[in-house]
């Protein structure tokens, strides 16, 4: 990761990533999200936008609302999208209930549809300090590591899976360091976030995660599947046989057991790989979406309905429509949706078919992963300090 010396845009004094206000002049500093495909690594600090109101053109007051129509001025951090290639896109949105967007999104893709895509989503733990800054730093750092390396292994699929998992672990380590870099010394609630990264290389999809952000495979036809298993209390309940809907509605459903941050118990991602036979969608999302639609079958119906409702729309429009849908359900959390369109697969190569017995044998991650013992002491509740909303 390139280190960029950050300065206050008002007085040019030195500032650090994560500062909300300039120490010297007190100017408000905002984390500017990039417009369009981003290649630069670090969050760019700019002063908070003071442009005219998007609704009526009126002046926006210091309090963040229009002086004429009262519309909330949308900051670049509150809502942004990325579309590194027409077949890969994502939208990251504040939602309705939360005061700021602590989700983050970072994507990369090669232009050829179905060639190579990297999708990273991080969800800031909202009880932690400045996790909006931390999550964006984490997502971008991980994306850059994943985009900067194209592991091919020893030419076999198993080798490629192993090499990709290795890069995912590197990416998560770098993301964890990026979160720690935003952590003020002695912070009582140090910033923390989840991580999910999906690397699609032709028909091989490798996913790594820490926390409860998810990846789904939604083929146009055939059985959709949830590829990740949340590091959460709810997931532990599911593993113990509690029905998913019940477990995810429970009081501790959003208590996550693993996260990135200085106080993380460990940050090694759990990983899985799958051969995706298109056409279909790789969907990576935060709990702002899956809170309203969790079962793979429901997610597939939602995606298919959304596709049906917007014929000819690309991933960007579809991701945006899915975010809108979650907002219509109440928007109780920040919402991030990233989509990659897997085109109709070419006939599987010989060696790919062989994957079924090895890496793809781990397709059902429950069988491949150690059973987690509940670790109550290490739980982090996601939710605002008043505790009336869960992440």
């Amino acid at each position: 990761m390139t280190t960029v010396a950050l300065t206050c845009p008002s007085c040019s004094g030195p500032v650090s990533a994560g500062d909300r206000y300039c120490e010297a002049c007190g100017a408000e500093l905002a984390c500017e999200a990039p417009s369009g495909p981003a290649s630069a690594a670090s969050p760019v600090l700019t002063t908070a936008p003071r442009a005219g109101c998007r609704e009526c053109g009126g002046e926006v007051a210091q309090d963040g609302y229009c002086t004429q129509c009262g519309a909330r001025a949308v900051s670049a951090r509150d809502h942004f999208s990325e579309e590194p290639a027409p077949w890969v896109a994502g939208v990251c949105d504040r939602g309705i209930r939360h005061q700021r967007n602590e989700d983050a999104l970072a994507l990369d893709a090669e232009p050829e549809p179905g060639s190579r895509a990297v999708m990273v989503v991080c969800d800031g733990v909202s009880s932690s300090q400045d996790c909006d800054v931390a999550s964006l730093a984490a997502a971008r750092t991980a994306r850059d590591v994943l985009a900067g390396s194209t592991p091919r292994g020893a030419g076999t699929v198993a080798g490629q899976v192993a090499a990709t998992v290795g890069v995912l672990e590197e990416a998560v380590t770098a993301a964890n360091e990026a979160v720690i870099a935003t952590t003020p010394a002695g912070a009582p609630n140090p910033p923390a976030c989840t991580f999910v990264g999906a690397v699609l290389d032709e028909s091989l999809l490798v996913v790594g995660w820490v926390g409860d952000s998810r990846a789904y495979w939604v083929p146009d036809e055939g059985e959709p599947r949830l590829l990740t298993i949340d590091d959460s209390y709810a997931a532990e309940q599911v593993a113990l046989g509690v029905p998913r809907a019940e477990a995810e509605a429970g009081p501790q459903a959003h208590a996550i057991t693993r996260w990135l941050g200085i106080d993380a118990p460990d940050h090694v991602p759990r990983t899985t790989s799958v051969e995706v036979l298109g056409p279909g969608w790789v969907l990576v999302c935060s709990d702002g979406l899956w809170n309203y639609c969790s079962e793979p079958g429901d997610v597939a119906s939602l995606v298919h309905d959304t596709v049906w409702a917007s014929t000819g729309a690309g991933p960007l429009e579809l991701a945006s429509a899915l975010v809108d849908w979650a907002n219509h359900q109440g928007g109780r959390d920040n919402i991030t949706v990233a989509l990659a369109r897997a085109p109709a697969a070419p006939p599987p190569r010989e060696e790919r078919a062989a994957v079924e017995g090895t890496a793809a044998g781990a397709l059902d991650p429950t069988t491949a992963l150690p059973t987690l013992e509940p670790r109550q002491a290490a739980y982090r509740e996601e939710g605002p300090p008043d505790g009336d909303v869960l992440s």
């Binding site: 009526c56 229009c66 002086t67 129509c69 009262g70 519309a71 909330r72 907002n327 359900q329």
Partner: protein
């Protein structure tokens, strides 16, 4: 240096198609300092004592002591005067041909005490003339920042027309603040409340003359503790929105809606008078055009302005949602003060109906008041209501009017009707 803060209590979630946003905004002032000592300008106090014949020996003696107690609380350097009121108004201190004020010091204090001790009960009652003289007395010193009066009366305004009183009240509006007290049971609460409400003051009953001194002392001490001479509540609402009402709901209920002075087309200012170290709660209701589910809009900026400077701001928001668990919740503060405002209205309407001999309406209104007092936990109101009605069932508001009610109990219920209890936060 006075500092202000604003806190907003509301449920910002509106259902699909919902338009009305309600919020309670608590404005708190601290470090107010003392009257006339903030550097913003001088303060002035006028004590207006009823010296009509009905005051008699006992009440005039009590009024003398009360006026003296009030003067004792006036800080050195504050301008002051004493008005003796009957069917006409007379400047009792300072002795002068023209209306004027003098500064308080040890000499003027003893002179004023002597003048007050010489007050005699004689003549009728024309409160409009008292207010008119007070207005002229305050105007005799230009540039005063803070002007406050205490008005004591014991009777009905018999010696001038209601129109004359109204005209005098209107002329005094914005010229000074006035806390009004009625002693005994021969004065009319509604009449005196009109003076107090217009002049941003309080109204209260002093049942027994011997209670007068302590009350006057307290009023004057409180006034001297109001270092912020004048402030206004400003309410901004977005273009196309309608401010349904602006109401002070604590410490007392006062509808401010009609007192709006335009700051700009979207912002109205509502005078609040002076501030000491205290909190006041305001209920603001705004009607918006409904927006789509998922959208957010600022419904109101509620600010406190001292002069042209905004010193505190609370944001009232609207978020449209189709989640019933969010939209159906009524904020406890809004619910509490809505009940308290309705309680005040029910008591006043009930007593008015009772006075005009309409027992059915009086029973219904006071029954509703009993129900609201119970529901909002206003035990003091319940205790006062109990002296006027027999309560059969507080939950349903089933009551019977008592016979032979003490007039003072009825007046105590009336004057206290606007006093609210704070919501338990």
């Amino acid at each position: 240096m006075a500092t202000f803060s604003a806190e907003v209590y509301q449920n910002e979630f509106l259902p699909d198609g919902g338009t009305d946003v309600h919020a309670i905004v608590t404005i708190t002032c601290s470090g107010a300092g003392e009257a006339g000592r903030s550097g913003a300008g001088d303060a002035a106090e006028v004590v207006i004592v009823d010296t009509s014949g009905s005051m008699g020996r006992e009440k005039i003696r009590a009024a003398q002591l009360a006026a003296a107690a009030a003067l004792d609380q006036v800080l050195d350097g504050v301008w002051f005067a004493v008005i003796a009121g009957s069917h006409q108004a007379r400047l009792a201190f300072p002795e002068a041909a023209q209306p004027r004020l003098v500064r308080m010091d040890s000499y003027t204090r003893s002179q004023a005490q002597a003048a007050v001790a010489g007050l005699r009960a004689d003549g009728g009652t024309a409160m409009g003339t008292w207010l008119t003289l007070a207005t002229r007395v305050f105007a005799s010193v230009p540039g005063l920042a803070q002007k406050h009066a205490i008005l004591l009366t014991d009777g009905i305004n018999q010696h001038e027309s209601p129109e004359d009183l109204s005209a005098a009240i209107e002329s005094a509006r914005g010229q000074f603040q006035c806390d009004c007290r009625g002693v005994g049971s021969d004065w009319q609460v509604a009449e005196v409340r009109r003076i107090a409400t217009t002049l941003l003051g309080t109204v209260d009953l002093i049942a027994r003359p011997e209670e007068m001194s302590a009350d006057f002392e307290r009023i004057m001490r409180q006034s001297m503790g109001r270092g912020v001479a004048e402030a206004a509540l400003r309410v901004w609402a977005p273009q196309g929105a309608q401010v349904l009402f602006v109401r002070q709901v604590s410490p007392t209920v006062e509808d401010l809606t009609t007192r709006r002075q335009e700051v700009n087309p979207l912002t109205g200012a509502y005078p609040t008078g002076s501030w000491g170290d205290e909190s006041r709660d305001y209920h603001v209701a705004v009607r918006l055009s409904a927006k789509g589910v998922g959208q957010e809009q600022l419904a109101s900026r509620v600010q406190l302005a001292v002069g042209d400077e905004v010193v505190a701001q609370g944001l009232v928001k609207a978020l449209w949602s189709n989640d019933d668990t969010l939209t159906t919740r009524i904020d406890p503060a809004v619910a509490h003060y809505t009940g308290q405002a309705e309680l005040a209205e029910a008591i006043q309407d009930g007593l008015a109906a009772k006075a005009s001999g309409d027992a059915d309406v009086a029973t219904a209104k006071l029954g509703r008041a009993v129900q609201l007092a119970a529901a909002t936990g206003n035990d003091e109101a319940t205790a006062r209501l109990r002296k006027i009605v027999e309560i059969d069932d507080a939950g349903t508001g089933t009551v019977r009017l008592r016979r032979g009610v003490n007039k003072l109990d009825e007046m105590a219920l009336d004057t206290a009707s606007t006093k609210t209890t704070r919501v338990k936060k």
